[in-house]
């Protein structure tokens, strides 16, 4: 298993680590955390089982449902298909780090107001995707929302309300936060 430590970006610094436990440092929600893990541990299991950040959900563990969506360096990735050890020196953002302590991100508020979930299990992944979708600069209309949000399954089928929540945040942003109607 190869991992890039220290001076990132040059092949010379490649070292073999594992297959036993190795110490890695992950920066999650702005906080560096050092943990012993085997290199085969996914980012998802590292977050949930080692760092006790269980807001990121395990739905399929196969990259099919999107419940484990987090950001790595501000890009959405599926944590179940990402090895934790490859995320050293990168900034990981999970649902727990989306807003300040005790605060809610406008997307989280919109999800509550629009009832964009029922069981809530896919919700953190939906929200991480939804915030990223607006930040990625797509045309934020319904066809584009549908397309770019289709990697996150919701078995309760709250999809129309998920779209309404995204429109609410979009419109509040466009209107400078004055009008949050969807």
């Amino acid at each position: 298993m190869k991992s890039y430590v220290g001076e990132v970006g040059t092949a010379d610094t490649a070292v073999i680590r594992g297959p036993g436990e190795v110490m890695i440092t992950l920066s999650v929600n702005g906080v560096p955390r050092t943990i012993p893990i085997e290199p085969r541990v996914s980012l998802l299991d590292a977050l949930r089982d080692r760092l006790d950040l269980t807001g990121t959900k395990k739905g399929c563990n196969q990259g099919a449902c999107g419940a484990c969506t987090v950001w790595v360096d501000k890009r959405r990735v599926l944590a179940c298909l990402t090895l934790a050890i490859t995320c050293e020196m990168r900034e990981i953002t999970t649902i727990e780090g989306l807003a300040g302590d005790g605060e809610l991100h406008p997307m989280q508020t919109a999800f509550i107001e629009r009832d964009a979930f029922q069981c809530g299990y896919c919700t953190p992944g939906q929200i991480m995707s939804a915030v990223a979708f607006l930040a990625e600069g797509h045309q934020p209309d319904d066809p584009q929302i549908k397309e770019w949000m289709s990697g996150n399954l919701c078995r309760c089928a709250a999809y129309p309300h998920i779209r309404a929540a995204i429109r609410q945040v979009r419109d509040a942003t466009v209107a400078g936060g004055s009008d949050a109607a969807g």
Binding site: K57, A64, A67, I112, D115, C119, L153, R155, P160, H161
Partner: protein
């Protein structure tokens, strides 16, 4: 103070869910927790000859490999009984790992326990299990000739045959006749949270089970029964459940296996099923076909209805989802016969899946009625109104409430149905063929057969806590019960907290069959009103109370203040009275006795579904453009959460119509597509906006608040409306689910 019931309040647990702090069963942190992985049979029939554990035992972190070779047999014998009953509710009359026999693929053969999930999974992959394989039957076509008519189905709860009048005589009077067979693929629930159980033995004879379940008590009773422990030795906690749709309505073997594993390794054990195991471990909607024979007079009035179902069940149980119940009472037809036939195969016992029975049975009936409307050449809504059942045709009893006629009218109006051109295959929008269709919906109102309880406690500061042992799996029960309790106590909603999620709380049935909200709201309402009455009685007896000496019947409570009904200035708050008496809290139990089965009313929930589809003329691709559903679920406790559930149900109907099929490979006897990549469910792009309305009908029979539930009725009829719209678009009748591209090419 206006009533809280009916308001569209946000979910109380919304903040926890959107911020990731809501902890589901596999997310609880326990000291010394270890991980168990189930290993299932890879053959559908045969015997386990040997399990070579050598490599696994040398793997890092391994704690134990458990199988029938080293686990003591369990003392209990599972007997399938729907969890609505409130007793032990195993999903099948079979418990694995008792001997070497394999009855179905995926049947648990071994449990591997290790210190981390990766190590447990790796060690499990190192097990070498030798099987002696026997021939297996896993699809209906292999066992069709061995079908039999069961005495009773559904865990013994329903007869295998129902009839009234004389179907042959009715058919002899008919001018028009429909005789068609509808085929329905197996379906899997696939909640996004896979089932998980975490078990801690607190002592040698006492355990706590954290379980993703629709009923904490169902888990408690089942494990108690199987392990030969008293219910009081087992505490079950189930706070947040990540969807279920029936997959967590029964208590499947993995729950008790987790308890056995924890006892064996003497550590807390977490056993979470993986996605593939979700296809083998908690039942499914069974493969089935339904034949419908309808006779009708020239004007479309039904003279006979025959509905036969043939489906695949397990070696252990006479299970069929009850597809014939609602279709049997939906139309005014004197001559009716419904018969279930079963054939046994190498499969886990099938189980409840959203609208178990009605989703398939009403599909068949409502497609057949569309065919009849075409034959009679009248509007499909008009055909339904001509055959409208003013009373329950199976008994002649009045409906406890209906609203069906209003649902048709309102849905037709919202959809813009009037003036619809009935000719099929004549509308085009570019390459798309456009069609519209409709169907009726019905779902029986199930009631538990025994008393249901909740507890209400008011504190001296005027705040209240109300408790019942339900779990929150997305129904919104936590929010709605707060509203019920607030109205019952005369408190603002924000002064009331509802607590569920534990078997230690007052006993309430598993939230199944759309009966959960009815049962728990009844018990909560009775607990709250009982407590309010106690407090009023206390006030009028208290010499220091301004209400002293008043007739309790003249006292009302508003905003936490008791006062005379006609003299608002005479009164005092709960808090003032309790503070004066140095009383920290007052508590009451609400006990609801459900109406008996002999209640002389037909109890059903009704609705109407309309859909517009576009079918690609060249590719056969079906897109649902619009859906309108109007339902009459009695009283709606929370408009927001209820409408969300109905919307989800309608989209489930779309999914049933166009996407969902678990494919059995009869050569291997295994599901061929056990993943969320291959078992299709709607993504955001598949799901159109949906128009949902409810018509509130007063029902004084079903329960104190007249709540009939919204969990299932939303899916019923939706697939038929879409299939009928596909016919209207293309002129082709597709009599199978799901309707796929190749059916329309």
């Amino acid at each position: 103070m206006s009533p809280a019931i009916g308001l569209a309040l946000d979910r109380v647990e919304g903040r926890a869910k959107v911020s990731g702090t809501a902890r589901y069963t596999a997310e609880l942190v326990l000291p010394g927790l270890v991980h168990a992985v189930l290993v299932g049979a890879r053959i559908p029939s045969g015997r386990v000859i040997a399990i070579d554990t050598g490599k696994a035992e040398r793997a890092e972190g391994l704690i134990a490999v458990l199988s029938h070779f080293n686990l003591p047999p369990i003392p209990g014998k599972p007997r399938l009984l729907p969890s609505l009953v409130g007793l032990a509710a195993p999903g099948e009359s079979f418990f694995p790992m008792q001997d070497e026999v394999v009855h179905y693929a995926g049947q648990p053969i071994a449990i591997v326990v290790a210190d981390t999930i990766e190590r447990a999974e790796h060690a499990a992959s190192l097990l070498r299990i030798d099987f002696a394989e026997l021939p297996a039957h896993t699809v209906l076509d292999q066992v069709r000739d061995q079908a039999y008519e069961p005495q009773r189905i559904f865990g013994g709860m329903l007869p295998g045959r129902n009839s009234r009048g004389d179907v042959e005589a009715g058919l002899a009077q008919a001018k028009h006749r429909i005789d068609q067979t509808y085929r329905i693929s197996p379906n899997h629930h696939n909640p996004i949270e896979p089932s998980a159980t975490t078990v801690v033995w607190d002592d040698v004879d006492r355990l706590t089970i954290y379980d993703s379940t629709q009923g904490p008590t169902a888990t408690q009773m089942t494990v108690s029964n199987l392990l030969g422990l008293a219910p009081g030795q087992i505490k079950v906690i189930s706070e947040y459940v990540g969807g279920s749709f029936g997959s967590k309505a029964m208590i499947w073997p993995h729950v008790t296996l987790a308890a056995l594993a924890a006892r064996q390794v003497q550590r807390p054990v977490r056993l979470a099923l993986d996605r593939e195991q979700m296809f083998h471990s908690c039942g499914h909607r069974e493969e089935q076909e339904q034949r419908i024979t309808i006779g009708a007079r020239a004007d479309g009035r039904l003279t006979a209805l025959r509905h036969h179902k043939l489906s695949l069940t397990s070696p252990f149980d006479d299970w069929a989802e009850p597809s014939l119940q609602s279709p049997g009472i939906f139309y005014d037809c004197a001559n009716y016969e419904g018969v279930y036939r079963l054939a046994r195969g190498n499969t886990i016992t099938p189980t409840f899946m959203r609208a178990p029975g009605e989703a398939s049975g009403m599909f068949a009936l409502e497609c057949a009625m569309d065919e009849l409307a075409e034959l009679v050449d009248i509007d499909p809504v008009e055909l339904r109104l001509r055959n409208f059942a003013k009373t329950d045709p199976s008994t002649g009893n009045p409906w406890s409430s209906s609203g069906l006629r209003e649902c048709y009218q309102r849905a037709a109006e919202l959809f813009g149905w009037d003036g619809r051109d009935r000719a099929p295959g004549t509308r085009r929008d570019g390459q798309w063929l456009i069609g519209t269709g409709m169907a009726g919906a019905a779902y029986p109102h199930a009631v538990p057969p025994n008393q249901q309880r909740a507890r209400a406690r008011l504190y001296a500061d005027g705040s209240a806590v109300v408790e019942a042992g339900v779990s929150e799996f997305g129904t919104g029960v936590t929010t709605a019960m707060r509203q019920v309790a607030a109205d019952g106590l005369g408190l603002p909603v924000d002064r009331v907290r509802f607590v569920g999620g534990s078997s230690d709380l007052p006993n309430i049935t598993a939230a199944v069959g759309s009966a959960g909200t009815g049962a728990v709201s009844a018990a909560v309402h009775l607990a709250a009103t009982e407590l309010r009455n106690q407090l009023i009685v206390r006030a009028v007896a208290d010499q220091q109370s301004p209400l002293h000496g008043a007739d309790p019947a003249t006292v009302t409570v508003e905003d936490g203040r008791m006062r005379l009904h006609d003299r608002a200035e005479v009164g005092e708050t709960y808090a003032a009275m309790l503070a004066r008496g140095m009383t920290p809290d007052v508590e009451a139990l609400g006990v609801w006795t459900p109406p008996p089965l002999t209640t002389p009313y037909g109890m059903h929930t009704f609705g109407a579904q309309f859909a517009e589809v576009a079918v690609d003329a060249d590719l056969g691709l079906v897109r649902v453009r619009r859906m309108v559903g109007v339902f009459a679920p009695g009283r709606v406790l929370n408009r927001k959460t209820a409408h969300s559930q109905l919307m989800g149900g309608m989209l489930w109907g779309m999914s049933q119509a166009l996407l969902e099929a678990t494919l059995m490979d009869p050569r291997t006897g295994r599901w061929a597509n056990p993943s969320l990549g291959d078992y299709l469910i709607p993504v955001n792009a598949d799901a159109p906006d949906v128009v949902v309305e409810t018509i509130e009908v007063t029902d004084t029979v079903v329960n104190p608040l007249g709540v009939k539930g919204v969990g299932e009725i939303g899916i019923v009829g939706a697939a038929a409306a879409i299939a009928n719209a596909v016919h209207h678009a293309t002129g082709r009748r597709i009599r199978k689910l799901p309707i796929s591209l190749e059916d329309l090419l």
